[in-house]
C-alpha cells in the first residue's frame, strides 16, 4: 500500500475548494480593504502566478489513495489553467492545481 502523500494548501475561491501544493506557495497575503480576500502567490516550484481566493481553509495532507484523475469531460470544459488531479476525501472534494 502506498504511503506517499502531498501537503496541500486548501483555499475557497468563492465557488469551490482548490488545493495547491504547499511546496509551491511563496506566500499568502490578505488583500487590503477586502474582508475575506486573500492572494496566494505561487511559483516556488515552477512558473510564478497569483490566485485570489475568499478564504484560506488550511493545509491538508492528501494520501496518494485520495487522488483521482480529472475526468476528461471536465478537463476539456475548463478554459485556462487546468487542474492536474482531484482530491477525494471524506471531508470533501478539491481540485488540485
Amino acid at each position: 500500500m502506498s504511503t506517499r502523500s502531498v501537503d496541500l494548501l486548501v483555499v475557497d475561491d468563492g465557488v469551490a475548494l482548490r488545493g495547491y501544493d504547499c511546496r509551491d506557495v511563496v506566500r499568502v497575503e490578505e488583500v487590503a480593504g477586502e474582508p475575506g480576500g486573500y492572494l496566494v502567490r505561487l511559483g516556488r516550484l515552477g512558473s510564478s502566478r497569483e490566485v485570489a481566493c475568499r478564504e484560506v481553509i488550511g493545509s491538508v495532507a492528501l494520501a496518494a489513495s485520495e487522488i483521482r484523475p480529472v475526468p476528461e469531460a471536465l478537463r476539456e470544459r475548463i478554459p485556462g489553467e487546468k487542474p492536474w488531479a482531484v482530491g477525494l476525501t471524506v471531508r470533501g472534494m478539491y481540485l488540485l492545481y
Partner: protein, 181 residues
C-alpha cells in the same frame, strides 16, 4: 387404408408436412423481417420537463440519484460539478443546458428528486442530470427516423434520430455528441 378417425395416414402425413412448411415459412418470414428492419436496439427513455429523450442502452453505464455535487469554478456553464461515485470522480453535466446550446442563462438546475444518467462513449464518461427516467424499450433500427427538420440546427447535432414513444416524438441522443463539448 383409412384410420378410425376417417383421416388417412397419407392425409395425416400431408397435414404434418404442411404444418411444418407453414412453421418454417413463418420462421423465415420473421428472419426476413428482422433483416429488413435491422437488429433490435434497447433504449433508455427519460424526460426533461415534458420533453422526452432516448439513448442507446449500450452507452448507459448506470443511473444514479444525485449525491453531494462539488462545484467547479471557471468551468463551462453546463458543468454542474463533480460527484463521488463509489470512489470514482464523476463529472456531472446539465443536459438541459447542453440541449439549449448555451442559450439558456438560467442558474444551475436543482438536483433534488432527479436522476443522473451516466453515459460512456469510448474512454469518455459523464453523468447527465435528467428530471425523470421513464422506460427501457426495445425497437428495431427501422423505427428510428431522421432528426425532425423543426429541430434547431445547433441542437440537431446532438441527436441520432427521432422515434415515437407514448404518442410523442422523442429525440434519440448521440452519446458521442453529448459527451464532446
Amino acid at each position: 387404408m383409412v384410420s378410425t378417425s376417417g383421416v388417412s395416414p397419407l392425409d395425416e402425413t400431408r397435414e404434418e408436412l404442411l404444418r411444418e412448411a407453414s412453421f418454417s415459412t413463418e420462421a423465415s418470414g420473421r428472419e426476413k423481417a428482422q433483416e429488413e428492419t435491422g437488429p433490435a436496439r434497447s433504449l433508455l427513455v427519460f424526460f426533461l420537463g415534458v420533453e422526452g429523450f432516448a439513448v442507446d442502452l449500450a452507452h448507459v453505464r448506470r443511473v444514479l440519484r444525485p449525491d453531494r455535487i462539488a462545484r467547479v469554478s471557471g468551468a463551462a456553464p453546463e458543468v454542474l460539478g463533480l460527484m463521488n461515485c463509489q470512489g470514482e470522480v464523476l463529472c456531472v453535466l446539465d443536459l438541459r443546458r447542453i440541449l439549449s446550446s448555451g442559450k439558456e442563462t438560467a442558474p444551475p438546475a436543482a438536483t433534488e428528486g432527479k436522476f443522473i444518467v451516466v453515459l460512456r462513449h469510448g474512454e469518455k464518461e459523464a453523468g447527465f442530470l435528467v428530471d425523470a427516467v421513464r422506460d427501457v424499450m426495445e425497437l428495431s433500427a427501422s423505427s428510428v427516423h431522421a432528426v425532425l427538420d423543426s429541430v434547431d440546427p445547433s441542437r440537431a447535432r446532438l441527436f441520432e434520430g427521432t422515434l415515437a414513444y407514448g404518442g410523442q416524438f422523442v429525440g434519440l441522443l448521440s452519446p458521442s455528441a453529448c459527451l464532446n463539448p
